[in-house]
Amino acid sequence: MKALALRGALSGLLALLMACGGAPPPDVDPRTLSWAGIEHAARGQQVHLAMWTGDAAINRYMREFIAPRVRERYDIRLEIVPAAGDIPALLANELSAGQPRSHLDVVWINGETFYKLRQLDALFGPFTRHLPNDALVDWHNPRIARDFQQEVDGYEAPWGTVQLLLITDGARVPQPPRDPAALAAWIIGHPGRFTFDTAFTGLGFMKSLMIGLSDDRAVLDGPFDEARYVAARDRLFDWLRAVQPALWRAGETFPRDVAQLHQLFANGEVDFTMSMNDGEVDNKVASGLFPAAAHAYALDSGTLANSHYLGIVARAPHKAAAMVVINELQSAEAQYEKQRPAVWGDGTVLDIARLPVPWPARFATLPGRERAPSREDLASRALAEPSPQVMIRLERDFRARFLAD
């Protein structure tokens, strides 16, 4: 009873503080408008897009290609807000504080972030079918239509497709290991020259091994299953325990994120890095960060392939402008530019056959990737992302077992 009274008092205090800020005007649901009406409502608005900003090439694409484009075409000012795994926590804090309007409009998400935001009821939607470019999206591709085994249901718009690849330097590792057993042997034979990060990409690597170490590629498909997860996790942890003493810094510490891992690779401290963007190796070599002999490949046992998406925050103050920005990001021009290896190298979510002339021909003649297998070659080694709970549990269990947290 006392606890309830305390909670009531605190909520009252917060409500009082909120009231001092003044109530915002009621929103018009842009889904009730025509597309011309949405574009009209979007004019002069400012859109805050929360995204991971750990890659200079992606930041440059957003800053130098997308932002000027939406400003010029729709008079929308696009502001990039650095964020990543903390998006659910940020929005949960806003919701618990009773904040009537979010400070974010669009969020770059997938998998576990989408799962969390749906749990929090923090996403606006369904909205994707109101976007004109949605008709061009390859919804028949299950890796686009389903995000980490979850139905998208119109609450997030596909933006790009990727596959996890290992990156190594051909000059240092002429015969890179091709499967988990060979990788373990290589790590043990080359102490201190391999590691992985403890964030999104490293967890993707571990999930790939969880599936790759099993005989069944569909071992983690479907809803989260405790028994199947524990069996796959234990196989992974046995593999990790075997290689741990030979990892970088004897496996006592790991890079915080993939940017730090890239830095170790670029400095020659380790012989491998990895990327959740199968085209990244080309732009990192082009920008001079990676050595010229760097190349990417997938393990024969497969690596995770997934899509990434754009969602609109349920309490976004500029939903119409957010829809216009997302529609622009799905346009053939923006997707083409994004897929160019020198720009970002991110796979398109569009069904090329449905694009108007001259876009099919343009996509067909895109400069090829020089240091990564083609997407067609990678398709046979693409593994489906398991449910988001696998990643959440794996992070917790990995930290408990290997970092003694």
Binding site: L10, A92, E269, M391, R396
Partner: protein
Amino acid sequence: MRASSPTEGRLWLGIYTLACGGSVALALLLALARSVGALSWPPRATFDGSGWSTLFSSDGWWLTLAYSFALTAITLCLALALALLLLIALGPRLRRGWLARALFLPLAVPPVVAALMGFVLLSDSGLLSRVSHAIGWTHMPAQFPSLVFDPAGRGIVLTHLAMTTPLFLLLFDRLSDHLRLPLLMSQATALGATRRQAWLRVGLPLLLHQARAVIGVYGLALLGAYELPLLLGASHPSMLSVTIQRAVAGYDLAQQPFGYAMTASYLLLLLTGWAWYSLRLGRAAVRP
């Protein structure tokens, strides 16, 4: 300038106390509420004790606390020792020429920049490692002592040291002038003390006593440091702010109550320390 009346003085003191104490009390109240799932989203029907049970049952929090206190104590001790040695060695030269100006430079460097400089200097492929390679001491990056991302926190300590030592050196130099330390030291030596005895019995106790509040406040800043431990620290163990931030803003929202339980504990610990220190000061003031 008009002097304020006693009523006005009390009013301003009340406002000041409310602003300072109120903000800390509100932060503590919110952290406590969040640590049991109150004010969370989606709203909970019952309180959640998982954050506090994790805090008391797992080693993580206690290790983080011990690690943070250890790194803070090591940094403070080394910085104080280094600053005092430099004061003794350099004396009045600290106030002349380029040295006097150079001492202010580290104070203007933001922690993020200091962390990046620390990384460039101390990492396995950093400047020191390259120099060591060039003169043939090491042949590959892994042979260079691990100073960055190091579980022992050597990179954090060294970088903090580079930022803290000049501050203490400046402080001691100004205090030495204020206390007329050279005069007191010469009196001590005139009375038969050696130079070493004069420093140990007169100079150092006076300086440390006068600087204790600043040392304490700076210790708290080191204890709660975020940027340096984040950018130069190992993934495990980690310092307080990094551990709390990871729990509060990580992938796993179920870790939030634990994050807020750590926040509340840390605030309570600081408040307890402050209360103890205030009581000690009060007792010292009434002592005849």
